[in-house]
Amino acid sequence: MKPKVAFFDFAGCEGDQLQVANLEEDLLTLLGQVEVVTFREVMKEQSENYDIAFVEGSCTRLQDEDRLKQIRKNAKLVVAIGSCATIGGINSLRNYKDLDGVKKTVYGENAKLFDSYAARAIDAVIPVDAYVHGCPIDREDFLHVVKSLLQGKKPETPTYPVCVECKKNENVCAFERGQYCVGTVTRAGCNSCCVNEGTICWGCRGLIDNPNENSEKEVLIKYGQTVDSAIDKFRLYFGWQEAKR
């Protein structure tokens, strides 16, 4: 019998589920291997009977914790997909702000009607079995994780930084170009896709497990960057991870 899979979304842009829809012809192949039972973005049918749950988005309020716990209870495996789910992602930007102030900025006097707390990764609420990193996720990476899980293996995730891939791609270092880049401490696996397109690494795959803080300081000194500029860039995606550390 084909394993049953389900997709769920919390606070996020649904861009990761879109990458699944974007698999196009590969999606048809995937559908030969698994049975999709819940995927609100593309199908009407829904079921609580599933083996693998893919969860996109951050947890940003108490009421979502119950939904997450129910998903954990129903599923054999829970996979976090995309930065918001894997590391808290860009939603964590607001964690540095006074939440009441944030609500007032956006909603004025109706702010009190909201329930919302610091944005967090899914594994802050429930145990997670596998991660598909990135903002958005990479389609190949997603397929790799799904294949591993279907074979009963734990998918491998690189523990080295984006810099390694970027050097292999022979990019001109962003620091050499006078820009601040967080590829020095960001988990690889994206093939340095943003730097390849002429920009910088923004950090969407999250901090590596053991970032080399001394070498990061050396980079700052060498290129005349300040600690403030580093902290500022770290906040873009690492907010929840930093708070946890």
Binding site: D9, A11, G12, C13, E14, G15, D16, Q17, L18, Q19, A21, N22, E24, E25, L27, L28, L31, V36, F39, R40, E41, V42, M43, K44, E45, Q46, T60, R61, D64, G89, I90, N91, L93, R94, K97, V102, K103, T105, V106, Y107, N110, L113, F114, D115, S116, C135, P136, V172, A174, R177, Q179, C193, C194, N196, E197, G198, T199, W202, D232, L236
Partner: protein
């Protein structure tokens, strides 16, 4: 007439982007409640960007929506560029227009093929269609792939662009790459015609419903306005984009959960149908022919026809993109440095960027201090502008279908919501009110 009593509660309507609920309560044939509500988790983007630098805002606000990330990036860049008086080259303007066409194609094809077609064919999703109508599904997938390849080429990504930056592009495609995508667009025309014929054969399933409303879009003297133009209301005419707040007039209503918008009437509509109604004569010849297949002419007040208007826009985007690539070729594509970083003089100021994205007109409005740090932001997204119109359509259609079987009522209401192609996670400021 039979006096019916029933409740319809569609919690988290499917095949739309984001979370929306339909709550209907009919007692003895009388509609007691008819509500379109939004339980989406709020994300506070306008507060999140305060304190961030001008060269990051497009990256952050792109994350408002995965489906319209190119449109959000472009509206963001236009707002920043307007605030700081940054001009872009004619070539970059053309490349940005191609990027926007790529997104419209990607989004409209996804909506038509994955989200609307299943309703017309009486199934729950595109998945069963893969076994019953494989050739058609393959055509849809192929069109979608071409649109994604085009996004990839212009933006370096299909979602959350990288190459689009303040002042231009960090990297541009080569003429060979553009010519290759042009060939694919040309080859896709017969496939699009096949999809149009399939939809035409099913168009009888679209409810024949009209409710007069106001249509708001961009408008441009010489093109079907997507990237640039003035504001145009079908009720009150043109106005400069910087007057957008007097058009959108966002407000909170207690019994619902989203900020809504109104202008001349109690609600207005944005999106493909609004654009088509306001700018029909600017559509490409082939696009107008497609509209004629469905008798879709301005002013059309049937919201279900928005899906057909999207199909017409697919044709227009393909034709116009081919034209833009021809122009780039004729002018000779100028190369630019690797890791291009336009020279920008940071200064204090405010600017508004308006762009037509798949679901309608989108506004980003930023204020920067003299260090280029954002001090204030406002983003008004198309779906929020449509909520009021969805609600009023729902109220108007319900009495017309109240004696039909409950399943049919539910499907009609869902189809109505889906016709607007709502993109709810986009909702930068959604208000959560307790519903009882």
């Amino acid at each position: 007439m039979k006096e019916t009593s029933f409740e319809v509660n569609v919690h988290h309507i499917t095949r739309v982007e984001g979370h929306g609920n339909i709550n209907v309560d009919v007692k003895n044939g009388v509609v007691e409640k008819c509500e379109w509500s939004i339980p989406e988790a709020p994300r506070f983007f306008e507060a999140m960007v305060v304190g961030r630098s001008w060269n990051e805002l497009h990256h952050i606000t792109s994350r408002i929506c995965g489906i319209c990330s190119i449109g959000h990036t472009l509206a963001s860049l236009k707002a920043t560029e307007s605030a700081m008086g940054i001009a872009i080259s004619e070539q970059d303007l053309k490349l940005r227009k191609l990027a926007l066409h790529a997104e419209n194609l990607q989004s409209h094809i996804l909506h038509l093929g994955f989200l609307v077609l299943p309703d017309l064919m009486g199934v729950g999703s595109v998945i069963p269609l893969a076994s019953t109508n494989l050739p058609e599904v393959k055509i849809v997938l192929q069109l979608h792939r071409t649109a994604n390849e085009m996004s990839n080429l212009l933006c370096g990504r299909t979602t959350h662009p990288q190459r689009l930056i303040p002042g231009g592009f960090s990297k541009i495609p080569s003429m060979n790459e553009l010519a290759a995508i042009r060939k694919k667009l040309q080859d896709s025309i017969p496939n699009i015609q096949a999809v149009a014929q399939l939809i035409q054969s099913l168009a009888g399933k679209l409810p024949n419903f009209t409710r007069e409303t106001e249509f708001i879009s961009l408008s441009h003297p010489s093109e079907y306005a997507l990237y640039d133009g003035k504001l145009l209301s079908s009720d009150t005419g043109e106005a400069p984009v910087k007057e957008y707040l007097s058009y959108t007039n966002e407000y909170v209503i207690p019994q619902s959960t989203a900020k809504w918008a109104k202008h001349k009437r109690d609600s207005y509509m944005v999106g493909a149908l609004a654009r088509l109604n306001n700018n029909y004569k600017k559509l490409s010849p082939m696009a107008q022919k497609t509209a004629e297949m469905f008798n879709l002419q301005p002013m059309c007040h049937n919201p279900f026809m928005n899906s057909i208007a999207q199909l017409v826009e697919v044709v227009d985007s393909v034709e116009d993109s081919i034209g833009i690539i021809n122009e780039l070729e004729a002018a000779g594509l100028k190369s630019q440095p690797d890791y291009n970083k336009p020279d920008i003089k940071v200064k204090a100021g405010s600017g508004v960027g308006a762009v037509e994205v798949p679901r309608g007109i989108l506004f980003h409005d930023y204020t920067y201090n003299d260090r280029g740090v954002c001090t204030k932001a406002n983003c008004i997204i198309p779906t929020n502008q449509n909520h009021g119109n969805i609600q009023l359509d729902m109220k108007a259609i319900l009495p017309q279908i109240v004696n039909k079987p409950q399943k049919e009522i539910e499907l009609t209401l869902e189809m109505l919501v889906r016709a607007y192609d709502p993109c709810i996670s986009c909702s930068t400021h959604v208000v959560k009110v307790n519903l009882t």
